[in-house]
């Protein structure tokens, strides 16, 4: 039995008398410890898909099953790393993570255990040094690190990353991708990442789910990336499997499902 099962999910939004179909018959099974990327052009509903798994957006038809149980509401077992970090600006870095830890582990850990767990997760993303800073005082990349720490600190069954590095410059992005790969290798989390960056998808994923253009977006293709881990970006530049995978995704996105700008 698969760990996470997205079973014939449809999603349409209703505005007045008009109904817009966003997702059409999405079926996907993800195993424990797998890293899956969802890629597609803007507006294809990939973020909607992630929000459905998170439980933040209600489903129109179908179901999402985590370990055989249907999920309907959001919860800390499906932690989300939001695109714009969504740290609470009035809390320090430490307090942002502690808010999650204190809520999720309220009855299970003692006060000092919770403190240690917050610091452990900040260490994991190399942000322990900035524990007393506020989000406004740290860079975009650092904010996203804290966002990842907050997600990991919930000990989720599955970590959902919604274009986590989209707003970062290329160098910071590469740095954070490496961090995510290390964390994934060390902890073996199941992760779903939404992205529109082909290299990022190929570098990080075990599988890439490619979405067709909306409305009524479907899963067009699923590509297995059979690359050894740990992966090093410099070695991969000339790796045949990497190049082939990259080409396959690019061809899907730019030949068969070119983005048609709505006039």
């Amino acid at each position: 039995m698969s760990y996470l099962k997205i079973d014939h999910v449809d999603k349409s939004f209703q505005r007045g008398a008009q109904t817009t179909a966003v997702l059409d018959d999405i079926c996907l099974e993800i195993g424990q410890g797998e890293f899956v990327s969802v890629i597609g052009h803007s507006g294809c509903g990939k973020s909607t898909l992630l929000n459905i798994v998170a439980g933040l957006t209600p489903i129109s038809a179908g179901a999402v099953l985590l370990e055989g149980r249907e999920v309907r509401d959001p919860g800390p077992d499906r932690a989300v790393v939001f695109q714009n970090h969504s740290l609470l600006p009035w809390l320090t870095v430490y307090d942002n993570v502690a808010l999650a830890v204190n809520k999720v582990f309220a009855g299970q850990k003692t006060r000092s255990e919770r403190h240690d767990w917050v610091m452990h997760n900040l260490d994991l993303v190399q942000m322990a040094h900035a524990r007393d800073r506020r989000p406004a005082e740290i860079s975009g990349g650092m904010k996203q690190r804290v966002g990842i720490a907050r997600g990991l600190a919930m000990k989720p069954k599955i970590l959902l990353l919604d274009e986590p590095f989209g707003a970062l410059d290329a160098l910071t992005r590469a740095h954070l991708q490496d961090s995510v790969m290390q964390i994934h290798a060390a902890l073996g989390n199941t992760m779903i990442m939404i992205t529109h960056d082909v290299d990022e998808a190929v570098l990080l994923s075990d599988r890439i789910v490619m979405m067709t253009n909306g409305p009524s977006a479907r899963i067009g293709e699923v590509l297995d990336i059979r690359l050894e881990r740990p992966r090093r970006r410099l070695e991969l530049v000339s790796d045949r499997t990497y190049i082939a995978a990259r080409e396959a995704v690019l061809k899907f996105l730019y030949e068969r499902h070119r983005f048609v700008e709505a006039a």
Partner: protein
Amino acid sequence: MGHAALKDAPAGAAIVALPGAKPPGVVPLPPPAGRSRTRRLLPWLGTVLVNVLPPLVTVALIALFWQIAASGPQSSLPPPTKIWEEARDLIVEPFYWVGSQDIGLGWRILVSLQRVAIGFSLAAIVGVLLGSLVGQSVWAMRGLDPVFQVLRTVPPLAWLPLSLAAFRDSQPSAIFVIFITAIWPVIINTAVGIRNIPQDYRNVARVLRLNQLEFFVRIMVPSAAPYIFTGLRIGVGLSWLAIVAAEMLTGGVGIGFFIWDAWNSSRLSDIIVALIYIGIVGFALDRLVALVGSIVTRGTLTH
């Protein structure tokens, strides 16, 4: 020349040992000054002068103009010099106490401030709670907002007869007038602040499964704090406006009644002194709420 010297220097040589010209970009530090205290005080003194001098000049000019305008024999208002003669005790001794009705303006201000403090605190608490409800629930907004919009246009003093009838005492009536005056801006601004909480923060709360109370304390209030304090600041200003008017009618020892009393016994100089007191206290109240707001909301405004 400096560069050539750098090349010739042996590997271990310190840069300080460069002969001839100083290395570019290195500015020698001034020797530690003995008069550093004065140096640090001078700019501070400068800012004080820049901020204090212009209003002082303005006040002096107004006083001068007033003196000239009110000095004529038919003048109905007293000039500053006459005010000083007649109301000197009020100006120099705000906290004297002779009898129950012969007390310094400082005491009267304190009595009025106490009423404002009670009425305004109630308005702040009830206003934030009601505003949160209206901001959070669509149905509460549909039901309550039109009512609020109508009620908030009622002038403060129009509530006074009703409130006197209900409470049968001047003290709670005055407090109620303060309350009903200050609450509307608090409600309306809180509701706007709550409605403007970014969806991201709500999503964070949903993923964490924060309950209603946790959401209110952890997300809603801090996120809406800048709006709430805008409402509180408007509210405290309106309270101070209303208390003077309310006290004129209810009597007692407040600053408002003092003005009314002075008018009835034609002590115009006393009225003018009281006006200045009221203005300064109102200004201080406004700044106080703004200061508390800027301390509480630090970090909230910037993203």
